[in-house]
């Protein structure tokens, strides 16, 4: 790879340079005197934990948010970027984490709308094809967006930016929705773009990616620039420590030598989708042993939500025998009954599902621990308070105390509390959905360690995650959910990113890939 080209020469005028950018919100300073320079043709990483101020900074560059103070210079000229239209006129394009496409319109129609001026979609189609071909982006302008996979949708957003021939392209966590193969395609395209002189500002927290792709990295912490580095020369661990501001010890997984007794068994579970655009589960089979961590990989929208609802009991299976918990049939039991039999569940959404935003941490502890914190229908508030205080202390939850409302916590701290609560129930089987999604590195490590410890104590842990690196780090076996079907699990020693990535993209599957993904 020719990624270590030296692009920074002092005599060059930066394409974009920020000086002293400061932006405060009511309770916190999101950006605090940030200086940043992006050179022409440079792929510049913006690294930082959640809440470090990355998103605020790029929103300022793209004219969505106005800074309180500081200056922006574009190709050496001081500019004020009043709104996204002004940013686009300068030549700045941005691909957001969440797409803004109309499901019922075609690709060309969506792009025509996004371009703002009056463009006939039909006239745009050849231009779309030309750009797509030039950068190796497979996009068909006549297709309807609701048929497209998440990766394809992202390509539509990128093409929309590229049609405006940007000089700076901003991407916010672009690979979070892609398979490894799709991510490789994206990187190839970005390298091509950079070779042609376009600058790229790349937000991510995946350090391996940044090492492989970016020429230069600026690390933010708590709204300030902590340092800069050449990611090709700096180890991912070093970068992580810069982001966190402390030394990092990754959890260690010692894979158990023998499989324990089967704690959770699913035998031929099929369920129709329960919502429009939902995914049907097709003949799911899995076994989870005591002491084991089973990882389930897959791109979002391939039935993860449906599988978890069926396993947790929020949706019931057609027959009791389909799902067995410690050998006993539970398929038709509800969530409360399965909890009583030793199942615990860390859901994907924290506020509103895993916790109640308006309730105190003490009350949120009670949410699933009511079985042990209430007697004869009466709540033992003393025990409730102790239970919550124990979680806060044990998992280092940053909160003002047990009376703190759920919504006052950051996402990572709320997640630590929920993980602590579910593990605190001493479950025999724990289901964990995206346990470290959006959580900063320090908290993520603590959560992974907690899952490993739980498995080591003899519980079965099933982890659904889109983060392959995480699954490879903690899982003993890994299976892939694709279009509602679960592949046979592979021992982690026999699995590679490539094999799992192929399964995530639907290789070896009979069903048409696009149709299933379009439901995402």
């Amino acid at each position: 790879m020719s990624r270590s080209r030296l692009r920074r020469r002092d005599e060059d005028v930066p394409r974009l340079s920020l000086a002293g950018i400061t932006k405060s919100y009511a309770t916190m300073r999101a950006n605090d005197g940030i200086d940043l320079a992006v050179m022409a043709g440079e792929i510049h990483a913006l690294l930082g934990e959640n809440g470090a101020g990355k998103s605020t900074l790029v929103k300022i560059v793209y004219g969505v948010v106005a800074p309180d103070s500081g200056t922006i210079a574009w190709e050496g000229r001081a500019v004020t970027i009043a709104d996204p239209n002004a940013a686009r006129r300068l030549g700045i394009g941005m691909v957001f984490q969440h797409f803004s496409l109309f499901e019922s319109l075609t690709v060309a129609e969506n792009i025509a709308l996004g371009l703002g001026d009056r463009h006939a979609p039909a006239a745009l189609a050849p231009r779309i094809r030309a750009v797509a071909e030039r950068y190796g982006l497979a996009v068909d302008p006549t297709r309807h967006v609701h048929h497209l996979s998440v990766g394809e949708r992202q390509r539509v957003e990128i093409v929309r930016c590229l049609l405006q021939e940007p000089k700076l392209l901003i991407l916010d966590e672009p690979t979070s929705v892609l398979t490894p193969q799709e991510a490789d395609g994206l990187f190839a395209m970005l390298r091509r773009l950079a070779d042609e002189g376009c600058s790229v500002l790349y937000i991510s927290h995946k350090l391996e990616e940044i090492a492989a792709l970016c020429h230069h990295a600026t690390v933010l912490r708590a709204g300030r620039v902590i340092g800069e580095c050449d990611p090709t020369q700096t180890s991912p661990r070093k970068m992580a420590e810069m982001m966190v501001g402390a030394a990092i010890t990754e959890p260690r997984r010692v894979h158990p030598a023998r499989r324990g007794a089967t704690l959770l068994a699913v035998d031929g579970l099929s369920l129709p989708p329960d919502a429009p655009f939902g995914t049907a589960l097709r003949d799911i089979r899995l076994e989870l042993a005591a002491g084991e961590i089973l990882g389930i990989a897959g791109v979002a929208g391939n039935g993860q939500k449906e599988l978890l609802a069926a396993l947790s009991g929020e949706r019931r299976a057609p027959s009791p025998e389909t799902i067995r918990l410690a050998g006993r049939p539970v398929g038709t039991l509800g969530a409360a009954a399965r909890r009583r039999r030793g199942l615990a569940f860390i859901p994907e959404e924290r506020l509103g599902r895993g916790a109640v935003a308006e309730m105190s941490l003490a009350e949120n502890g009670l949410l699933t621990a009511y079985g042990r914190l209430a007697r004869a229908g009466l709540i033992a508030w003393g025990r409730v308070d102790r239970f919550a205080a124990g979680i806060i202390a044990r998992y280092r939850v940053v909160a003002s105390g047990i009376e703190a409302e759920g919504r006052s916590l950051s996402g990572g701290n709320m997640q630590k509390f929920i993980v602590g609560r579910e593990i605190g129930l001493a479950p025999s089987v724990l289901l964990a959905a995206h346990p470290t999604w959006g959580v900063d590195i320090g908290a993520a490590i603590a959560i992974r360690q907690a899952l490993i410890d739980l498995a080591d104590s003899g519980a079965g842990v099933l982890v659904v995650s889109e983060d392959l690196a995480e699954l490879f780090e903690i899982a003993d076996r890994i299976a892939v959910l694709y279009a509602g079907h679960l592949s046979a699990p592979l021992p982690i020693g026999e699995a590679s990113t490539e094999t799992v990535g192929e399964l995530m993209g639907g290789l070896g599957q009979v069903l048409p890939a696009m149709e299933a993904l379009g439901a995402a």
């Binding site: 009511a26 309770t27 793209y62 969505v64 009043a82 709104d83 996204p84 239209n85 941005m94 957001f96 969440h98 803004s100 109309f102 969506n110 709308l113 996004g114 703002g116 957003e157 929309r160 947790s312 009991g313 929020e314 509800g334 969530a335 409360a336 009954a337 399965r338 909890r339 569940f345 859901p347 959404e349 506020l351 509103g352 599902r353 895993g354 916790a355 109640v356 935003a357 308006e358 309730m359 009350e363 009670l366 949410l367 699933t368 009511y370 209430a374 229908g377 009466l378 709540i379 508030w381």
Partner: protein, 365 residues
Amino acid sequence: MPLRLELRPRPARAMLYLSPLLAATASALAGAMLFAVLGHNPLQALRILFLSPLDSTYGLAELALKATPLLLCAIGIAIAVRANVWNIGAEGQLTMGAVAGGGIGLAFGEGGGAWVMPLMLVAGMAGGAAWAAVPALLKTRFNAHEILTTLMLTYVAAQFLGWLVHGPWQDPEGFNFPQTRQFAAAATLKPLIEGTRVTLATPLALVIAVLAALFLRRTLAGYRIRVTGLAPDAAAYAGFDAAGTVWFTLLVSGALAGLAGICEVAGPIGQLLPVISPGYGFAGIIVAFLGRLNPFGIVAASLLMALLYLGGESLEMTLQLPLAVPGVIQGMLLFFLLAADVLILYRLRYVPSRSASSVPAADHV
């Protein structure tokens, strides 16, 4: 519009408790303006409205009497609303409670013993609960929204009562007036204090308010209701039975409204009439929110609302103002309360026109 509502990061807690007082003050001021426009001395009118009912023991007793059905209805409504179940048909449940309990009283006539009264109270609660069971069934079975069904059943209940007192239950010696016989002595709630009309219903309602507060704070069932109302997905995740919560809250609020109904007809009214309530069930909605859905707050709010009823009657008698005037003030009270709550939870911000104009689809703001 250059003005925009923004969620406040931290709403002031104290203000949330003070807003009912703010709303009451604002309603009094707006009421004063209304009186001035109608050609009366606003201070004098306010004095009649708010103070004259309180200047005698009898007046205070009447206040407690009026507050009792409001309190019972509002407690039930608050428990349901806490679970995000919008029972706005307490008026109908109150009517059916009066019909069911009153029916027992009429059936036994003069022949009943001391057990008639408890039986009537139980029948009243059962009647109200049965009337609320219909929306519960429609909601859990067919997903029909309870706001519509509870409200519509209120009018059915009113018509049913009207048919009974004009038809089968009409007093044969009543000169064809639309009314039933007077309840017998055993079927009547007697005044607790000589010279007033306050019955056992008032202390009973206070006990129920205390029990409701304990229920919401101390029991798992109360906790389930609060979780269901605040975050239904969290309730499903925790394994709480959503349909069970709908049934429970509707039956409880129906039973309490029914209790209010039977206590009214067996107490101060003494018989069934075509109209037995000046809208206690509807005013109970205002009382529930004015009391912050908190049973103790509701006790205070029900007294305030009762004062408006009594003061309205005094205004009618002394200044010949129509009864619609206190109705308007009731409405303003709810309006100001909701407005105060919006401003406590949100702040009004002036936004320069640029950001307020539409932003192209590609931009997330």
